[in-house]
C-alpha cells in the first residue's frame, strides 16, 4: 500500500491540483488579505508622488508567459496612479511587453477617463536590455525619440519636458526577468538616485530582498500575492484577490502532498 502511494500515477496528483485551483474559483471565495510592509512602502511612495503632482515612469519588463501574475499587478498600480491623477509614462524593455502594456494602459485609462498624451503616454519597446536604461539616463529622447505610434515626444504634452531619468519622481519596473537587479539598479538607480521600486514574479522575489534592506529599492510587490495586497490597499478587488483563495487551497494541497510523501517515505524506511 505504501509503495503504491509512493509511486502513485502522477495524473492523479494533476487532478488534485486542478481541482484545488478550480473549485475555489468557482466558489468565488474572497479571503481577507493583509498587506505586508514592502507593498505598503510602494503604495506610500505613489501617494507621495500624487501629493507632489509628479510623474512616474512605468517599465514593463515581462512577457506573455507571466501575464497571469503581472497583468493584475499592472492593473492595480495603474488604478492607483489614475485615481490619484498621477501622470504615467510607460516603456517596455521586453519584446513581448508592448501588446500587454498597451492593453492594460488603454483599459485602465478608459476606466478613469484619462487622455492619451496628457495623462499617460506609451513609448513602446526598445531592444538593448541594460543599454536602454543607460541611454534613458543620459538622454531620454535618445532612447525613446517617439511614442509607440511615431509621434515625437516633444509633441506630447506629457513628455515635452522629460530629458533624463532624473525628471521622473518615481520609477517602477514590472519585471519577469532580471531587469530590476541587473538593469535598473546598476545602470539607472545607482547613478541617478531616483526612488525606485519593482513588482516581480514570485520566482524572483526572494532574490530582491537584499536591495530592500540596502534601500536601493523602496518596496517590492512579489507575485500574485503582492498584486492582491496592492488591490486591497487601492480598495478595488480584482483578479489577483480572486486568485488568492485558489492559491491558498493549492498551497495546502501541495504541502499535504509533501508531508504525506515524507510520512510514507519514513514508514517504508522503518520497514
Amino acid at each position: 500500500m505504501i509503495q503504491w502511494l509512493m509511486n502513485i500515477d502522477r495524473r492523479i496528483i494533476f487532478v488534485f491540483v486542478f481541482l484545488g485551483v478550480a473549485l475555489p474559483l468557482l466558489a468565488n471565495v474572497f479571503l481577507p488579505i493583509k498587506p505586508t510592509r514592502d507593498v505598503i512602502s510602494v503604495y506610500d511612495q505613489f501617494e507621495k508622488v500624487a501629493e507632489d503632482e509628479g510623474i512616474v515612469l512605468l517599465s514593463f519588463s515581462y512577457g506573455a508567459s507571466t501575464e497571469p501574475e503581472m497583468q493584475p499587478m499592472a492593473r492595480a498600480i495603474l488604478r492607483h496612479c489614475f485615481s490619484r491623477n498621477i501622470k504615467v509614462v510607460a516603456v517596455c524593455l521586453w519584446p513581448e511587453a508592448p501588446g500587454l502594456a498597451r492593453k492594460v494602459l488603454e483599459e485602465i485609462g478608459d476606466e478613469f477617463g484619462k487622455t492619451y498624451g496628457e495623462d499617460y503616454a506609451f513609448l513602446g519597446f526598445k531592444p538593448g536590455n541594460f543599454a536602454v536604461v543607460l541611454n534613458m539616463g543620459q538622454d531620454f529622447r535618445d532612447a525613446f525619440p517617439q511614442d509607440n505610434w511615431g509621434t515625437p515626444l516633444e509633441e506630447l504634452a506629457l513628455t515635452q519636458d522629460i530629458r533624463t531619468l532624473r525628471d521622473f519622481d518615481f520609477v517602477f519596473d514590472l519585471a519577469a526577468g532580471d531587469s530590476i537587479e541587473f538593469w535598473w539598479i546598476p545602470y539607472g538607480q545607482e547613478k541617478y538616485g531616483f526612488p525606485f521600486a519593482g513588482g516581480c514574479t514570485a520566482v524572483m522575489a526572494p532574490d530582491l530582498f537584499p536591495f530592500l534592506q540596502s534601500k536601493q529599492m523602496v518596496g517590492l510587490l512579489g507575485g500574485l500575492a503582492g498584486a492582491a495586497e496592492y488591490e486591497t490597499l487601492v480598495g478595488r478587488q480584482d483578479k489577483a484577490t480572486a486568485g488568492m483563495s485558489a492559491q491558498s487551497m493549492a498551497h495546502l494541497i501541495i504541502v499535504a502532498f509533501i508531508l504525506f510523501g515524507n510520512m510514507a517515505f519514513f514508514l517504508s524506511r522503518r520497514r
Partner: protein, 240 residues
C-alpha cells in the same frame, strides 16, 4: 486507431459542441473576439493535453506558438529599432531632417550587419568584430556598476552598529549569514576545523534561502495556472 486516438477525437468533438452551445447561448460573441476566445481556449486545452500524454495536438499547438512568437519579436525589433531608428535616421542623412550626429549611426549599423556574417564560412570571422565590441563594452560597463551597486551598496547596510533590539539581532544574524555563506563558497581552503564549522552554518542559511525560493516558485507556477483556469472558466465558459 488506438484507444487514445478515439479519446482525443472525442475530446475535439466535445470541444466543438461546447463552443457551439456557447455561441448559440450568446455566452461567446459571434465576432473576432469570440473566435479569438475559442482559438485561445482550444490552444490552451491542446497544450494541457500533454499532462495526459504527449500527442499531436500538443505538438501542433506548440509549434504554431513558436512561429507566431518568432514573428512577433521580429516585428518589435523591426518597427522600434531597425526601421524606427536606423532606417529612418539613415535615410534622412544629408537631407533637411538630418541631425549631424546621425552619421555615427552608420557604425553600429555596420557592426550589426557584420554580425550576420556569422553564418558564412568564408566571412564568418568578420562577425567577431561585432561580438568583440558587444562583449568588451558590456564587460567594461559592468565592472564599476557591479562594484558600486552589488558590492559597496550591499556591504554598507551590514556594517551598522548592533543594538539590543530585534533589529540589532536581525542585523547580527544577517552579518553571520553573509560571512558564513561567503566562507562556504570559498573552495580554495579545505572546509575543516573552524572553516568547516562556519561553512556548515553557511549551508543552513543557504537551505533556508532555497526553501524560500522553492516556496515562491511553487507560488509563481500556481499563479500562472490560476490565470489560465480563470480564463477557461470565466472568459470561455462564462461560469465564474
Amino acid at each position: 486507431m488506438t484507444r487514445d486516438t478515439y479519446v482525443f477525437l472525442g475530446l475535439v468533438l466535445l470541444f466543438a459542441v461546447v463552443n457551439g452551445v456557447l455561441l448559440a447561448n450568446g455566452v461567446l460573441a459571434a465576432d473576432w473576439e469570440g473566435l479569438g476566445v475559442i482559438v485561445a481556449a482550444g490552444l490552451t486545452l491542446a497544450l494541457y493535453s500533454f499532462l495526459y500524454k504527449d500527442n499531436p495536438l500538443f505538438k501542433v499547438a506548440e509549434n504554431i506558438f513558436v512561429g507566431v512568437a518568432t514573428a512577433y519579436i521580429f516585428s518589435q525589433n523591426w518597427y522600434q529599432t531597425i526601421y524606427g531608428e536606423v532606417f529612418v535616421r539613415l535615410s534622412a542623412l544629408g537631407g533637411e531632417d538630418s541631425v549631424s550626429g546621425d552619421w555615427w549611426l552608420l557604425a553600429p549599423t555596420v557592426l550589426g550587419l557584420l554580425m550576420l556574417t556569422r553564418f558564412s564560412r568564408r566571412f564568418g570571422w568578420l562577425s567577431r568584430l561585432s561580438f568583440a565590441f558587444f562583449v568588451g563594452l558590456g564587460a567594461g560597463l559592468t565592472i564599476p556598476r557591479t562594484i558600486s551597486s552589488f558590492i559597496l551598496a550591499q556591504i554598507e547596510p551590514m556594517l551598522q552598529p548592533l543594538s539590543w533590539s530585534i533589529e540589532g539581532f536581525n542585523l547580527l544574524v544577517i552579518l553571520i549569514g553573509v560571512v558564513a555563506v561567503l566562507v562556504y563558497f570559498f573552495f580554495s581552503v579545505e572546509h575543516t576545523g573552524v572553516v568547516g564549522k562556519v561553512s556548515r552554518v553557511g549551508i543552513w542559511f543557504l537551505m533556508i534561502s532555497f526553501g524560500a525560493s522553492f516556496g515562491y516558485t511553487i507560488m509563481a507556477r500556481l499563479s500562472l495556472l490560476i490565470g489560465r483556469v480563470t480564463f477557461l472558466l470565466d472568459d470561455w465558459l462564462g461560469i465564474m
